[in-house]
């Protein structure tokens, strides 16, 4: 169900991100966990007007330190809680879909993939994103404790498609951190900032960085 409430006064950012660049913009976020929940809040605060968010998970107690949910959200569906938070904090329009994304609709506009398994990323990419001309910007992010990678591309650019696919690997090859070393707040906050910066670049016609690699433990940031 879509909801909408009064809009924010964006005066303080008009010179950075003009509102006219965001009219009629639709943003889909697939996965509102550590990366996606803070990102939704950040993009909403930037004035992006309309979101569709997908996630079938329930808020669990260990999610709360690293995801945007409130203590009272434990036991709620993530998209339901996220919808309440986004409306309260930004007043944007949100459609909350309490399901894993499986092609329920044709993806378009800005699409953020913030799921937590590489196999899911590969599936979404291959079936619904690769060479989809309706998607203006595709962003996919991954994190591991104090490391972060963000890929941003137009999925109809053959060179970028080739480069992106060179950075995909199955979940069976992914590093499995101990359950007490999976994530921490500053990594997810940073991911929201980096992705939001690339979205702003896309909206204002600046070059979008294909790859951001951050080693937060060592404070190394590689951009290309």
């Amino acid at each position: 169900m879509a909801t909408h409430s009064p809009t924010m006064d964006l005066t303080r950012q008009h010179g950075i991100l003009p509102q006219k660049d965001m009219d009629d913009l639709e943003t889909t976020i697939i996965g509102v966990g550590g990366i996606g929940s803070w990102l939704a809040l950040a993009l909403g605060k930037m004035g992006l007007p309309s979101f569709r968010i997908y996630d079938a998970d329930i808020v669990e107690a260990p999610n709360i330190p690293t995801q945007a949910f409130r203590l009272e959200d434990e036991g709620k569906g993530k998209v339901q809680a996220m919808q309440e938070i986004l409306i309260a904090f930004t007043g944007c329009s949100i459609t909350a879909i309490p399901e894993h994304f499986a092609g329920q609709e044709r993806l378009k506009g800005i699409v953020i993939c913030a799921v937590d398994k590489m196999d899911t990323r590969i599936d979404i990419w291959q079936k619904f994103v690769r060479f989809n001309p309706m998607i203006s910007l595709y962003v996919e992010a991954r994190m591991g404790a104090e490391e972060l990678r963000v890929y941003s591309l137009k999925p109809t650019d053959p060179d970028l498609v080739h480069r992106y696919e060179g950075n995909l690997y199955p979940s069976s090859e992914a590093f499995q951190a101990p359950c007490t070393e999976k994530s921490i707040a500053y990594t997810v906050f940073t991911s929201a900032g980096i992705i939001s910066r690339e979205v702003k670049a896309h909206l204002t016609g600046e070059p979008v960085a294909f790859e951001n690699i951050l080693g937060l433990k060592s404070r190394v940031w590689v951009v290309q």
Partner: protein, 69 residues
């Protein structure tokens, strides 16, 4: 002999004494990083290939294949 700074999830941050330039591949083998677990390597904030060179004193960031979201 200078210390090259090695950064990775697997090894944590550590100085590695290095006396001469060597390829990324040789460097990783020297510090016993398993190549199949490596997603990418950056030297002094630039992404490199396994055939590129690492000089003593460089900062080497080894990115593991991560998948969290």
């Amino acid at each position: 002999m200078k210390n090259t700074q090695l950064i990775s999830i697997a090894t944590r941050t550590q100085p590695v004494p290095q006396s001469k330039p060597m390829t990324v591949k040789d460097f990783l083998e020297m510090v016993k990083v398993t190549l199949s677990e490596v997603e990418s390597v950056s030297v002094n904030c630039k992404r490199v290939t396994m055939e590129d060179m690492i000089n003593p004193g460089d900062t080497v960031l080894v990115m593991t294949k991560i998948e969290g979201g």
